[in-house]
Chain length 405, copies 4
Amino acid sequence: MVQSCPEASPAKWHLAHTTWFFETFVLREYLTGYQPCDPDFLWLFNSYYNDVSNQPEKKIRASFSRPGIDAVLAYRQHVDDAIAQLDQRGMSPQAAERIELGIHHEQQHQELLCYDIKHALWTNPLHPAYAEGGKFQSSASPPRWLDFTGGLTEIGHAGEGFAYDNESPRHTVFLQPFALASRAVTCAEYLAFMEGGGYTRPELWLSEGWDTVNAQQWNAPLYWRKLDGVWMLYTMRGIVPLSEMDATPVCHVSYFEADAYARWAGKRLPTEVEWEAAVAERVPAVPANANMLESGQLHPMAAPDAELDQVFGDVWEWTRSAYLGYPGYRAPAGALGEYNGKFMVNQMVLRGGSAVTPRSHIRSTYRNFFSPAARWQLAGLRLAQDTSQESGATQPSRHGGKISK
Amino acid sequence: MVQSCPEASPAKWHLAHTTWFFETFVLREYLTGYQPCDPDFLWLFNSYYNDVSNQPEKKIRASFSRPGIDAVLAYRQHVDDAIAQLDQRGMSPQAAERIELGIHHEQQHQELLCYDIKHALWTNPLHPAYAEGGKFQSSASPPRWLDFTGGLTEIGHAGEGFAYDNESPRHTVFLQPFALASRAVTCAEYLAFMEGGGYTRPELWLSEGWDTVNAQQWNAPLYWRKLDGVWMLYTMRGIVPLSEMDATPVCHVSYFEADAYARWAGKRLPTEVEWEAAVAERVPAVPANANMLESGQLHPMAAPDAELDQVFGDVWEWTRSAYLGYPGYRAPAGALGEYNGKFMVNQMVLRGGSAVTPRSHIRSTYRNFFSPAARWQLAGLRLAQDTSQESGATQPSRHGGKISK
Amino acid sequence: MVQSCPEASPAKWHLAHTTWFFETFVLREYLTGYQPCDPDFLWLFNSYYNDVSNQPEKKIRASFSRPGIDAVLAYRQHVDDAIAQLDQRGMSPQAAERIELGIHHEQQHQELLCYDIKHALWTNPLHPAYAEGGKFQSSASPPRWLDFTGGLTEIGHAGEGFAYDNESPRHTVFLQPFALASRAVTCAEYLAFMEGGGYTRPELWLSEGWDTVNAQQWNAPLYWRKLDGVWMLYTMRGIVPLSEMDATPVCHVSYFEADAYARWAGKRLPTEVEWEAAVAERVPAVPANANMLESGQLHPMAAPDAELDQVFGDVWEWTRSAYLGYPGYRAPAGALGEYNGKFMVNQMVLRGGSAVTPRSHIRSTYRNFFSPAARWQLAGLRLAQDTSQESGATQPSRHGGKISK
Amino acid sequence: MVQSCPEASPAKWHLAHTTWFFETFVLREYLTGYQPCDPDFLWLFNSYYNDVSNQPEKKIRASFSRPGIDAVLAYRQHVDDAIAQLDQRGMSPQAAERIELGIHHEQQHQELLCYDIKHALWTNPLHPAYAEGGKFQSSASPPRWLDFTGGLTEIGHAGEGFAYDNESPRHTVFLQPFALASRAVTCAEYLAFMEGGGYTRPELWLSEGWDTVNAQQWNAPLYWRKLDGVWMLYTMRGIVPLSEMDATPVCHVSYFEADAYARWAGKRLPTEVEWEAAVAERVPAVPANANMLESGQLHPMAAPDAELDQVFGDVWEWTRSAYLGYPGYRAPAGALGEYNGKFMVNQMVLRGGSAVTPRSHIRSTYRNFFSPAARWQLAGLRLAQDTSQESGATQPSRHGGKISK
């Protein structure tokens, strides 16, 4: 029942809403004679699809003491049974596509559920752990700079597999040459930024970021607290000293913090185009261990020492690209057009995938997006820099800064 | 787990906090060798006693997913067992007094729990009923005016029975003559005020009340909604047409609304001194049916037609008295001095008792208090008027207005 | 044009509004054939009289760049001329009464104007002084305790002179015996409270006061700032070290602070009834030097060492009485009934008069009132204590505390 | 002195701040022996340059009653004299560049001053006009669609003339084919959107836009009010019926409204790249009458019927591009790096120039930017559409929609 921040929803609601998605977009449209579980659920568990119905205000999701968990589980069973029935009867390709969309929708909520549980437990004054066990990576090699020549490049989804509408159309872009760091910034590196006055030097921040730092009194990422002079991190397995997590990618930073870190380091964040082009060139496939939750890990890990291979499955990586429609993008007609299209303002794109992203939900064209001030999601950063001749190429001598070659 | 408005708390919290009260003020002080159930509970379930410990912010009470309900029930058992042990060993009069205070404290929370459950269920978009059954009074006689001569009068607690500190010391006051209505204002009478433009005529309102009406867009008491042109009330047994509740005392009105109604009616609210003096003179004892929840009723009833006898057990009655210390009042030393004393500003006194006030919690000297804008409690009103010779005595001819003689 | 806090209004507005008052309540009603200066001014300069017209929101008073100051001065002249014309023609006693009311209304705004100018200048980052010169009292004798026996007492306005409606009717009250300090609390005494942890000890505060201290981050009265370890006060003549003002009555404290100080001192604030009864018994007349602004002073002065004689003309004194109607009080019909009556909730009464209260505006029955959190007005406090036999009479031995006998 | 919305500043402040800019960035750095007018002015009139000094909070700009207008004019004279002295002595190219920057800075404030005055006068309950006279265009031809083939294109500033840092570096982009409307959307066209339910159909809006519509209760552009059933617009020359402005470009719309209009029309907004490329191709020079304020006009005019020639000097045109740094962009070191760079988040780019943009401030590479909810600036929109073969080329038959061919 807990909803501990405006971004979050109660666990019961996630379950009911993902069920609602199948009922609304599959069963009501494709299963002849389908009897809804409860007519009120159509609007009660609608999140933001204005074309379907009005919705309860998000802030009262924590008031859903009724229907109780038993009723929600019965709702789920009712919908699962009806989907099975549809499957038995044989379904149209359109219906099958909707089921696939529903599964991807549910995967997103599985990830959000992890964020929300973590935040809810942390908000609880006792700070209980979600689970025991797991280990953090003990060391990280210095990042290397990988050079890319740029030029005419295609990005966006193409081919057979599933993708959201916002990954299309695939289109041509012109890229300047650039370099990308081989791994994400670690907690130890981020601590150096903090100790270098990161949160007290306005020149490192976007104006709105600096206002946020002051208004929210940020002095560290979310879940970091200094206790008796020692930085401690709240993780899914409870409170852990920062010293045990030095080599772990920093996460729970906002775009503002990611951007300030990059400026402090004398670098910048990559654009989403750079990120996708680099991954397409160097990372042939999503690795088997991308989803750490499945593998029993509960926190982002440091990358093994291979070329750009840890782009998936530790932390979402903030890019410096605003979330906008690709050239030629049109949101689909009807309610499903609201899935992605109507959020294309005041959001920044993240790429990659986190420790709690389901493995089959990860792909190189995937465009995640959050408000630049959001921190409860598993978001970190990777550095980039320009390498065009005018601004000076990536010669070793220029690589001093905060990242060793 | 639901906390649907800032005034409310989750049910689990009420249970834990009333347990905490016994642990903190009885067991820790009077049971030698007492082992606390959990050291964190000392601050975790503290409401507002700064002298005991810091407290979690009230707004995160809804985040207490842990400790779970099982742990809270075990806490209760632990404390109950220890109280039984103290009783077996024999206890000092001071300890017995503290237990009595703890019982009265718990009675207050029983009542608040009813308010909170009602509000939580109403906030739920499905508006589920708390229970079935019960009936509302079908008719109400016109109120009569009862005259009181005033003069030197004593009010406040005296004698043996239990009372809170704020009911003392008993002291002398000088009263002008006045008249008090024999019963509370009903829903039908309040509807006449609404239909007479009550919520749109600023001259009827205190300035701050009028600001509140506009800011909150009030146009009726809490829980009233007009559906398809018909006024409906949300009650503990679900949504009921106003027409079935004509004779029931209006409740869930703020002080501002009670005051505006009285001004519209050409009368005024009584002072708490008038109220107590009138009850002391005319109502010998709390009636057996004062607590309607115990008697299976779930909503305020209309008064039987007897002299002032329905002053207890339907709705708390707003008075025009600000909640302040009596002459000579001093808050007790230590944490228990925070029980009542520190709220003596910006609150108005209510007298009587509501349908969900435990019967043994009702007495004529009891001083309840709420902020003038609060409406989630069961609060209504009774009219009064001046009868001094200068301002015209209560002659029949002056009784036109909204109340028939 | 400056309006530096929600309580304040621009100087030009004060001038226009006091002019409006005469136009609306005197000229429009009593001067046959009166031609309003500008029909828009009727609503434009209305403050809060709903019965006259709607009003612009208070917060846009700072947007009144038009009409300009010349137009407002012309408005004043227009109204002055018309009043003179009414006077020449001869006027009814009712019209004369309205003029008297308008003068008192303007006196109130003269005082408010001083508060607003002070606040506006202080809000200005340069903190300019309002004027030069003046001296502060250099020393204050210890306060003495004056005993009063209580019993049946009459308070409220009676007789011929002008008084507001809220000072009536004169009525009988019954008072317990009490003692009142001979002078107001000084800055040096208040500093002792601060140094004794006054702003960090919750047990000294009303609950709402403590919330305000934390929300507003109060650690001293308004206009006090610690610069390089030294307390400095912003006054009408600029920034002055506290050390020069030791003997001056503390002012710009809220009710919450006054109440906390009294609790810290082991005393309490007087009720307004006690205050008025004491002054009626011991202070025969308002002294000639009550208004310090007229006498060239710009700040509250310490009291000369005479019995209760400095009750007027330094700071308004918070009482522990909520601002409510006296027994039998009825607001007058029509717009002028809004003058005082509609503010009778969530305000506390202050008695006396400040350094910027016009002398002819000061009287012993006067009831000033402000919200308990307000601090921009010149408000301080005087201590009182109970002296009934039960609670121990004012024997010398009990007089330790913070006030020496 | 008026500051009628958070975006605005008082006129006196604009004058002082533009003076401050010359003093800070020219005189203090390049005029040997320069004596500042007042040392406090360095921080007092700083807007947002953290590298120079702290700044007063923006919201207290309306409290700058001191220094008075005479002091500010003297400040201006002092700085003008010193600039003349620097000029006489001969200055370095760096100093001359700074003066040029200061002039462009002042031009921006000249435009903002017009916005602020308009808003201040409108906020005034009397809605006074800024000036008399002027005429609105009486008719507008239907817009034509101009086709562009896209491909590799260069945008950004190059060459000799002045430009801000954010217009560089000039760089190559790859453009899909597109079409651009020959003129901006008019008030009459926008009214059709409103009458077609524009403000009540969520499917037309970005999610954050729809939230803003509801929170702000928008039902028309800023300055539009329906009086007695007739739409009226507040303009610099007072309140004018919409019917007189049918052919005038709509302005004072937010990005959200511009975007919703385009969606309703079945089109989209152009990107800033498309806009700049189109203008570079078709508009050889800024026309002589670009600045309508100079030419005695006070409001955007309808476009004469020429190809894309009215891209300058009526309204700024919202693009669908977020305001971000160009590839290779680095903010300059020091305080002047704060001029543009730190605002690169949560802002949308506008192109063109408005009726109150100084003519020499207009150029095709200019990147203006505002928050997507801002409306007090003179912002309108021009439609675009895709013309790639996949999405259907701009055949006449597809041009129905809301824009006639």
